[in-house]
């Protein structure tokens, strides 16, 4: 796993992710049943040949709902992550470019303040005040998650500013905008994308946890979060309702973590040190 020449974790992560993508994107063709069609005669059935993951309280097929629900969950997670990434890049580039200026100081102070909000607490405040829905949950996610990207980008920019190419661009009379987009942005992109791979996993887990607590999207949408909230209410009679979405969340996060681990192995020189 730690051998850089055989990035087992990277390859296995990509394979798992690929399989998941086929299952989720192909849901309309692969799902055995209609994800929203109710069938009250088959309520809360245990897993069987007809329903591999059982049925929920309205007799809907859990497997079909899980496959269809993945689209909403994954797309919204990726959208939230991209928003956080873009805000983080923008703030990091600005703060790094004008290092030491009043803008930098204000932005860094803002980051310090946001870092003192545990994610769950901010999400709970937003859910309490604005109401529980998936979009509010995503808002909380973006509000917290951009910080790590901004910090990373800023530190990359500060390193890059010491390089000769930066001084050369300055001497040649390049404008601030040109320096930011042609010199600094390309250097920041790849570390930020690697961080994003890791962050996407923990982001999906956080969304799942909040949905489980009933602070995310509400039933009856075929979405993993609402299925979790639903499954929680019936956990004692029918634990299998939870298993479908939980298993898929586990596999998705695992895939992203394996890819992240693999990427880090290839890039981190310390990992190869042995005593």
């Amino acid at each position: 796993m730690s051998n850089a020449n055989h990035p087992v974790s990277l390859v296995s992560g990509i394979v798992v992710l690929g399989l998941l993508a086929i299952l989720i994107l192909g849901a309309p063709f692969l799902a055995p049943y209609d994800p929203v069609k109710q069938n009250v005669t088959e309520r809360l059935e245990k897993p069987s040949m007809e329903h591999p993951l059982g049925t929920d309280r309205f007799g809907r097929d859990v497997l079909s709902r899980t496959l269809h629900g993945g689209q909403t969950t994954l797309i919204s997670s990726v959208v939230a992550l991209c928003a956080a990434l873009i805000i983080g890049l923008f703030v990091g580039l600005t703060a790094g470019m004008f290092h030491g200026s009043i803008i930098d100081i204000i932005l860094m102070r803002l980051i310090d303040v946001l870092l003192s909000f545990p994610f769950m607490v901010l999400a709970m405040v937003i859910a309490a005040l604005f109401g529980t829905s998936l979009s509010h949950l995503l808002l909380a996610v973006v509000a917290v998650w951009w910080v790590s990207f901004a910090r990373l980008t800023r530190s990359v920019v500060l390193h890059a500013k010491n390089e000769t190419s930066f001084a050369a661009a300055r001497v040649l009379g390049a404008t601030n905008g040109a320096i930011i987009f042609k010199e600094l942005l390309p250097k920041a992109i790849s570390p930020v994308l690697i961080l994003a791979t890791f962050e996407l996993g923990s982001l999906i887990l956080s969304i799942a946890a909040l949905s489980f607590l009933g602070l995310g999207s509400q039933p009856p949408a075929p979405e993993w979060g609402s299925m979790l909230a639903d499954g929680r209410d019936h956990f004692m009679q029918a634990p299998h309702i939870l298993i479908g979405p939980a298993l898929f969340i586990f596999l998705t996060v695992l895939a992203f973590n394996l890819i992240g681990e693999g990427l880090r192995d290839r890039l981190d020189p310390y990992e190869k040190t042995e005593l």
Binding site: M120, V121, L195, L242, L275
Partner: protein
């Protein structure tokens, strides 16, 4: 030295001040009128009661200070906060500070036990993993970490709960806090935080092994055990900080775990209050948690500076590395 302490303290206060601004702004930005929320919609009252309703609403508005300007409201709020008055719960009519203080021991007990479990797991498996880097032990531990870190917290909680409470009958479910009931939620919370710590301890040990002094000690013929002991001591200081800083994520994790195990702590209280739309409680909870995090960060900074000023400066310079 004292100047540095003073600066840190000042910074912490500025952060706390900004945090109160954010919380205040969020509450005022929220859609809906708190008075209407308390009294119900005027449309529900009979026509003859409209006048009485409006009077009551105006009275309540004045009582809550909502008829005053934003700045006055904010300063009044801060004025109360300084006197440790977090407001009154809409639902129970009791002081929020009293409600929170009553539930603090349960959460503190849970967090402390989880932190201990996490630290033991992190130090033990992290060290083993580093010593056996690249071998099968290391690979097994890393794989287990990735798998554990990919499992939703509530899945671990529900699995352990059904295993010990239902299948084995070794755990009794009730809504009271007690030492006999502590171990299972604490174990769950500890397991959730462990992978990150194991990974950090491992990375720290390995980077310590890469240092020149380790190589020179080995080349001078010192035994491997003695060198490891030295490296371990040097690698430990940042690890202690990480354990302290992981309290922040424990606060988040505790909400889920308290909810699953019906542990009567602050997290569960705040969660229940969301469903009841009890604004003052949420506000108080957020403020207490943010203050706690700021306090922890301040303590870590100060302890760092006291133990090793060199490390402190390094941390300042490389703060961005630990995202």
């Amino acid at each position: 030295m004292y100047r540095m302490l003073l600066r840190k303290l000042l910074e912490a206060f500025v952060t706390l001040f900004c945090a109160t601004l954010i919380i205040f702004a969020l509450i005022r930005l929220a859609p809906g009128d708190p008075v209407q929320l308390l009294l119900g919609h005027p449309g529900e009252a009979a026509l003859s009661d409209k006048q009485a309703f409006n009077d009551r609403a105006a009275g309540l508005r004045a009582q809550l200070g909502l008829d005053q300007s934003m700045i006055k409201q904010y300063t009044a709020w801060i004025h109360n906060l300084v006197q440790l008055d977090l407001g009154t719960s809409i639902h129970t009519g009791r002081a929020v500070s009293a409600e929170i203080v009553a539930r603090l021991p349960a959460t503190a007990m849970l967090s402390a036990a989880a932190l201990l479990i996490q630290a033991v797991l992190g130090l033990f498996f992290g060290t083993v993993s580093a010593l056996k880097a690249g071998k099968s032990y290391d690979n097994a531990i890393r794989l287990a970490c990735v798998a554990l870190a990919s499992t939703p917290a509530f899945v671990i909680g529900l699995f352990l709960l059904s295993l010990f409470a239902v299948t084995l009958g070794a755990y009794e479910i009730s809504s009271e806090a007690g030492l006999s009931r502590l171990w299972l939620p604490a174990l769950t919370l500890g397991l959730i935080g462990a992978p990150q710590l194991i990974r950090m301890v491992r990375a720290n040990m390995l980077s310590e092994f890469g240092r020149i002094y380790v190589l020179s000690a080995l080349s001078r013929g010192l035994s491997r055990e003695r060198v490891v002991k030295h490296a371990l001591r040097n690698a430990l200081l940042p690890v202690i900080t990480m354990i302290a800083l992981s309290l922040t994520s424990l606060i988040s994790g505790a909400v889920v775990i308290e909810s699953i195990f019906s542990w009567p702590g602050i997290g569960k209280y705040a969660l229940d209050s969301i469903l009841l739309k009890d604004y003052p409680v949420i506000q108080g909870y957020a403020l207490v948690m943010v203050s706690l995090v700021i306090l922890i960060h301040l303590c870590v900074d100060v302890v760092y500076a006291l133990i090793d000023p060199r490390i402190h400066r390094k941390r300042e310079a490389g703060a961005e590395e630990h995202v």
